[in-house]
Each structure stands twice: as structure tokens, then as C-alpha cells.
């Protein structure tokens, strides 16, 4: 999908959505951008509220029995999707108006084929369970993608950038997850 913007490109603010991030905005001058290999990004948009959001997750589900550090759980689809939806709702979006697009899930190396596929299947299943319509997908294959998404208007663009493995930096989220405060 092409992006035809009435706003001069120089005024657009580009925000990178790194692994584990879930960002939402209604700012017409914001563009979310990310690069995906086997990771998946889901773009959500509420056209009535003019709110959009993008996440970027590494794996569909955390290992069931692993004693995973809570700070790293944002890398997993189930947490990432919830953070994304909550971020959207906080900015005035309504769950019933959400529409989705799915990107990524490529097979970047032999032996990692199931990761991308599992991520895609997870995103489809999650959105189906939440009754969120999927408007489009650019998924699977063997190439990395660059995705740009304007959250306020819901326009997205996805380009193939490389058939080489993407070097992805794992961002450690701020150590707030899992903290307990008893009143």
C-alpha cells in the first residue's frame, strides 16, 4: 500500500518499533517503522478513533515451564499483542473497530523455518480469537522486510530489504514488568 501524505516528509517523525515494543499513536505526523526477519509485526488501526499501533514480537509463546525473566516477556506474541491492544484502548480506540495487518514471519535460515511460520499462525489465531478483521498480510518467504505504518490514518507500506539474516538487537525493556506493590 502506498503512502500518499499531505504532510511534508520532513515533518514526519519516524519511531522505530524494536523487538518487544508495542507502540500506539494518533499523531498524524508519526510513522512507525521496523525491520523484520522471522519476527512478526501486527499493525492495528481504529479508523473511527484515528488511532493505530504496531508491535514486534520474536516468538509466539514463552516456554511453558521456563522461569522467564518478566522483563523479557514482551518479546512473546501473547504479551506483545495485549500490550498493543491496551496501548490502543488507552488512546481512545475501541476493540470492536480494530482492523489488522500482519507482516514478517520469514524463514531467514535453515532450521529456523518453524519460527516464522509459528509466529504468523499465532498472529492469525490471536486476531481471530479477538474477532479482529485481518485486512492484509505480507508474510512468510525468505526475505527480510521493512514495514512503515502511519498509525493515525492506518496506511502501511512493506518492502523487501534483504535476503540476508537480519541482525536484530534484543532490547531489554525497562525493569517494571512483574513488580508487585501491596497497598
Amino acid at each position: 500500500m502506498s503512502m500518499m501524505s499531505p504532510i511534508a516528509p520532513s515533518r514526519m517523525r519516524r519511531l522505530t518499533v524494536a523487538q518487544g515494543d508495542s507502540l500506539a499513536s494518533s499523531d498524524p505526523e508519526v510513522v512507525f517503522t521496523t525491520v523484520l526477519g522471522s519476527c512478526v509485526a501486527v499493525c492495528l488501526h481504529d479508523g473511527r478513533a484515528g488511532v493505530g499501533g504496531m508491535n514486534h514480537f520474536l516468538l509466539a509463546d514463552p516456554p511453558t515451564m521456563a522461569n522467564e525473566d518478566a522483563r523479557l516477556l514482551n518479546r512473546y506474541g501473547v504479551h506483545s499483542m495485549e500490550l498493543l491492544i491496551n496501548a490502543m484502548l488507552k488512546r481512545g480506540a475501541s476493540r470492536r473497530n480494530l482492523k489488522a495487518r500482519i507482516y514478517g514471519g520469514a524463514t531467514m535460515r535453515r532450521g529456523l523455518g518453524e519460527i516464522g511460520n509459528t509466529n504468523i499462525q499465532f498472529a492469525r489465531r490471536f486476531l481471530d480469537n479477538e474477532s479482529i478483521t485481518i485486512l492484509g498480510e505480507d508474510v512468510a518467504g525468505v526475505a527480510a522486510r521493512r514495514v512503515e505504518f502511519r498509525p493515525a490514518v492506518g496506511l502501511s507500506r512493506c518492502n523487501i530489504v534483504s535476503t540476508q539474516p537480519v541482525e536484530q538487537i534484543i532490547k531489554i525493556p525497562t525493569p517494571s514488568g512483574g513488580d508487585v506493590e501491596l497497598f
Binding site: D69, S176, G177
Partner: protein
């Protein structure tokens, strides 16, 4: 998320009743008498604040521990939950051990 929470709590020996949102939770109270409530803030129909206020307005649930499990981290919302009668505040994504420890602490 509810699935993960159920798995984490069941694994630690707790019996779990699930509800879709605040309204569903209040309806569940007609047939269940839980020892503790864990609620999100952002929910359809009735949010977590509404649920806490509704539970605290009845005599029966006056002493029921209510933990808020949410992605929200703002002091303002935390203060609102506390004022409404919440017992504790846990920021998602949750840590199984910390959550279990917090539950055991408020139950004893």
C-alpha cells in the same frame, strides 16, 4: 493472558475462575466465592476500577483481597485503584514467582 495466568496459578495449587470483564466477574460472584480477585484495568463493559468499586460497595466482599494486574504504570491510576479499595498493584508482564508470593502474602 488469562490462559497464562490460569496456567501459572493452577501450577501453584490455586483454583481459578475466569471472567471476561467486570460485568462477567460480578455475575460469576453469584455462583462462586473466591478468596481473592485479580483484575485488569482495561476491560470492556466494566473496567477494573468499576469492578473494585462494585465489589467494595457490598458487605460480603468488603475484606476480599483485590490485586490489579495491568500494563498500566501511572501513579495516578495506581492511586485511583488504591482509593477504590485495591489491595495491590502488579505490572504486566507478570512474574510467576512474584505473583504467587504476593497472593500468598495477602491471603495469610
Amino acid at each position: 493472558m488469562r490462559m497464562l495466568l490460569r496456567a501459572a496459578l493452577t501450577e501453584q495449587g490455586f483454583t481459578v475462575f475466569e471472567a471476561e470483564d467486570g460485568v462477567d466477574a460480578l455475575e460469576k460472584f453469584e455462583s462462586a466465592t473466591p478468596d481473592l480477585v485479580i483484575t485488569d484495568i482495561n476491560m470492556p463493559r466494566m473496567d477494573g476500577f468499576g469492578l473494585i468499586e462494585a465489589l467494595r460497595s457490598g458487605d460480603i466482599q468488603a475484606g476480599l483481597p483485590i490485586l490489579v494486574l495491568t500494563t498500566e504504570a501511572s501513579d495516578e491510576k495506581k492511586a485511583r485503584a488504591r482509593s477504590a479499595g485495591a489491595t495491590g498493584w502488579i505490572v504486566k508482564p507478570f512474574d510467576r514467582e512474584k505473583l504467587g508470593a504476593a497472593i500468598r502474602r495477602v491471603l495469610h
